[in-house]
């Protein structure tokens, strides 16, 4: 079983100002009253904010009549849902069987070292969130990682770190 928790009130206050709840109103209109709408609603919210803010849960509940406890139950059950904000780039290191056999652990360790965060955490500069995923389905290119929408295959510890560094450099140039 996976265990996730919602941000505490104090943690939440720090970021609550950035959440514009107006953005999810069309979504609520689309799914309101439809049966089986809970998961698509949460997926929709996450695709807007990158995670499900506490205030969005409350708004959904008020507008659709869905119970907070049901929503929280679903959001913590499925691996896809995040309850805290993520970095600009999401690094997903594949730990499927093929990747595991080809040394995915070493890739994760090298990236953790380069970013200075553990699995599921975001770097202090809010650039990267590191995640471990079960299988990206590109097994013949193992070991694989996916950054945002782009997949990188046949990695080694050093090539993975190099890819991360290149993104960092690009980000600096853009600033």
């Amino acid at each position: 079983m996976r265990v996730q928790r919602l941000l505490t009130e104090t943690e939440n206050k720090k970021i609550a100002d950035n959440v514009d709840l107006k953005l999810i109103e069309p979504l609520i209109e689309k799914y309101k009253g439809k049966k089986g709408n809970l998961i698509p609603l949460l997926q929709g919210v996450q695709s807007i904010y990158g995670y499900i803010p506490r205030s969005a849960f409350e708004l959904l509940s008020a507008k659709t009549g869905l119970k907070l406890s049901d929503m929280y139950g679903v959001a913590t059950f499925y691996a896809q849902f995040r309850l805290s904000p993520v970095g600009k780039h999401i690094v997903k290191v594949c730990h499927g069987t093929a990747c595991h056999v080809q040394g995915a652990d070493a890739i994760s360790t090298a990236i953790k070292d380069a970013l200075g965060v553990s699995d599921g955490e975001t770097t202090p500069d809010k650039l990267f969130t590191l995640e471990t995923v079960a299988c990206l389905g590109c097994c013949s290119l193992a070991p694989v990682m996916m950054i945002d929408e782009e997949s990188y295959g046949k990695l080694t510890g050093s090539s993975a770190v190099k890819i991360i560094k290149e993104i960092k450099i690009k980000e600096k140039e853009n600033k």
């Binding site: 069987t97 093929a98 890739i107 097994c139 290119l141 997949s151």
Partner: protein
């Protein structure tokens, strides 16, 4: 003269290998030089080990180029398309001459994958031109009744390809015989097994085949609503399914009074999964569609009686549906002529791990495992020694070398302690630690357990703790027996397939590789030199030339030393990734 056609394979693995860049390069050359060839897209033909693939079809026939990059794409255009002089060294598949990779296709029979890699999956006309929707037409023209269709599927011997292996026709008959105002036909595309990508490739490569299979199934059981439950991790599959569904609606294959059959109404929608392996179990999948936590429930009632929204429902896997149009169009015999007594037809496998030719293969049931690994798969990477093949993912088991001559069908695979599963086949060599493989799968099932049954929730956790201890060199006498006892309890006391089969990887590795467990526990050694805690990398001062390659390659800067002087590894920093070991040209790094 027919126009030359250039087709780029744009499946997920092709794209990951850089196929989009190749496509864009070809397009740029074509536009810049105003060349007269047709540029098209297709999906995965299964040769993942040679991606990106580019096929050139001209008046002489077809040639598929492998490992294409932007430079090679330019060469292909200049020499083959403009110069009419194919670059034979780059060709990986053609009927015109023998290539070193031809053996990959020897013995394959493509039924489920019949169109993958041959059509543009985003174009319904290409599917139709290869007998697409002909099965549905046959049903209309010959006025086939639901009973006839169900009987044909029963006669074909088709069994559920998602892992269960239940006869598909019988499942349909149960759903058919339950009368209700509403019924559901559901496609399970929640391919969660790590190391398996059969369904992804099928959905990306030939979505209409799956949709046609569902339409036929809906007609047979009397369903009015269809749902494809697809993993959200497969964005490309979802995109192509959406395109295919809207095309099917436009062409009248979905909607009201389909193909003029009075009262045959069907719509199909996609539900995106949210990342829970247990949702591959059918009752959990339906709970998830209803918007609940995906927890399995007790059967009976079976989905055929009370399924989604308490209506009779039929759930099949992607590959199962993809076989259906072929069987209906060509008759049951066209399918059951392949296979063994109790396992008919063909099966798709995702061949991965330490294998030379990793990719997607479809072979008749009963093909010897040895042929799949050595003929199709080309043998083990770097010619290392084969150790085992893992079949069936987290619910399956490891088949050791002395059983490599079994025929792959439901009965023989089950007899080894593994399961057929959905078709993930991960090959392991002498450098793979079997205790670590067992720990890996337990770690997976333990995280994915929904938590409903105590033994699955807590038992798998205890088993994982023991396995982790063993791989860290802290195993104790009696650990193996404890694992066996817990395994039995988890198997007996879990409600659904996830818990019942979770101990399989542990039990099969203990059965066939007990000596590896004992080496970890008694000698504190990992025979495969894989478990990090039991491993140290050292530099041999006699052999080290101080070339600095290892120090440069080390991702954590654990290696010190001046140029042309002996280097040393700081064991406190070393993460044991092995990059130094694989990059040293002087064989100066040893692992122990």
């Amino acid at each position: 003269m027919a126009q030359t056609k250039v087709i780029v394979g744009l499946g997920s693995c092709g794209i990951a290998a850089g196929a989009n860049k190749v496509y864009n390069k070809l397009k740029a050359i074509k536009d810049a030089e105003n060349l007269n060839f047709e540029l098209a897209k297709t999906s995965c033909i299964g040769m993942c080990f040679r991606e990106p693939l580019v096929e050139v079809v001209d008046e002489n026939g077809s040639m598929i180029y492998g490992d294409v990059n932007e430079d090679k794409a330019l060469e292909i255009v200049q020499q083959h398309i403009i110069g009419h002089n194919p670059i034979k060294d780059y060709v990986v598949k053609t009927d015109l001459f023998k290539t070193p990779d031809n053996s990959f296709f020897d013995g394959q029979v493509k039924i489920a994958l019949r169109n993958c890699g041959y059509i543009d999956p985003e174009n319904i006309h290409e599917y139709e031109s290869r007998n697409g929707y002909q099965a549905l037409r046959k049903i209309v023209n010959e006025k086939m009744q639901p009973e006839t269709i169900i009987q044909t599927i029963i006669d074909s011997g088709l069994r559920g390809r998602g892992g269960g292996g239940f006869p598909t026709g019988l499942k349909w008959r149960f759903a058919y015989s339950n009368k209700a105002d509403e019924k559901y036909i559901i496609c399970n595309a929640d391919e969660g097994d790590p190391g398996a990508f059969m369904d992804r490739s099928l959905l990306e490569g030939d979505p209409h085949a799956v949709i046609e299979g569902m339409i036929i199934g809906a007609y047979a059981i009397g369903a009015t609503n269809g749902i494809i439950y697809c993993r959200a991790e497969y964005p490309l599959a979802i995109k192509r399914l959406n395109i295919a569904l809207s095309q099917a609606r436009e062409h009248g294959y979905l909607g009201k009074n389909i193909m003029g059959i009075d009262g045959f109404n069907l719509n199909i929608n996609i539900k995106e999964g949210a990342g829970a392996f247990v949702c591959g179990e059918e009752t959990a999948l339906m709970a998830s569609i209803e918007g609940k936590r995906g927890m399995p429930s007790k059967r009976p009632p079976f989905p055929a009686e009370q399924g989604l929204w308490r209506k009779p429902s039929n759930i099949n896997n992607v590959e199962t549906y993809a076989n259906v149009p072929y069987i209906i169009a060509n008759g049951a015999e066209s399918y059951n002529k392949y296979g063994t007594e109790k396992s008919k037809g063909t099966k798709v496998f995702a061949l991965t791990g330490k294998i030379k030719h990793g990719g997607l293969v479809e072979v008749p049931m009963g093909t010897p495992l040895r042929d799949i690994i050595y003929k199709l798969g080309g043998g083990i990477q770097n010619d290392k020694k084969f150790k085992a093949v893992q079949l069936g993912g987290p619910s399956g088991g490891c088949i050791p070398e002395h059983l490599i001559d079994i025929q792959v069908d439901y009965d023989q695979v089950t007899a080894t302690g593994a399961i057929m599963g959905s078709g993930g086949m991960v090959v392991m060599d002498e450098t793979t630690c079997m205790v670590d493989v067992a720990r890996f799968f337990l770690d997976f099932t333990q995280k994915e357990s929904c938590g409903k049954c105590t033994f699955c929730r807590i038992g798998t956790k205890r088993m994982l703790e023991i396995l982790t201890r063993i791989t860290q060199g802290e195993g104790e006498e009696g650990d193996i027996e404890k694992l066996e006892e817990l395994a039995l309890q988890v198997r007996e006391s879990s409600l659904c397939g996830l818990g019942q089969t979770a101990p399989n990887p542990v039990l099969t590795t203990i059965k066939y590789f007990r000596h590896e467990y004992e080496a970890h526990i008694k000698d504190k050694k990992c025979p495969a030199h894989s478990c990090k805690k039991l491993l140290t990398y050292t530099i041999d001062p006699e052999k080290c030339t101080g070339c600095t390659v290892c120090a440069v390659k080390c991702p954590v800067k654990a290696i010190d030393g001046e140029r042309k002087k002996v280097h040393t590894i700081n064991q406190d920093i070393c993460i044991k990734c092995g990059d130094c070991y694989s990059n040293c040209r002087f064989d100066a790094i040893t692992k122990n």
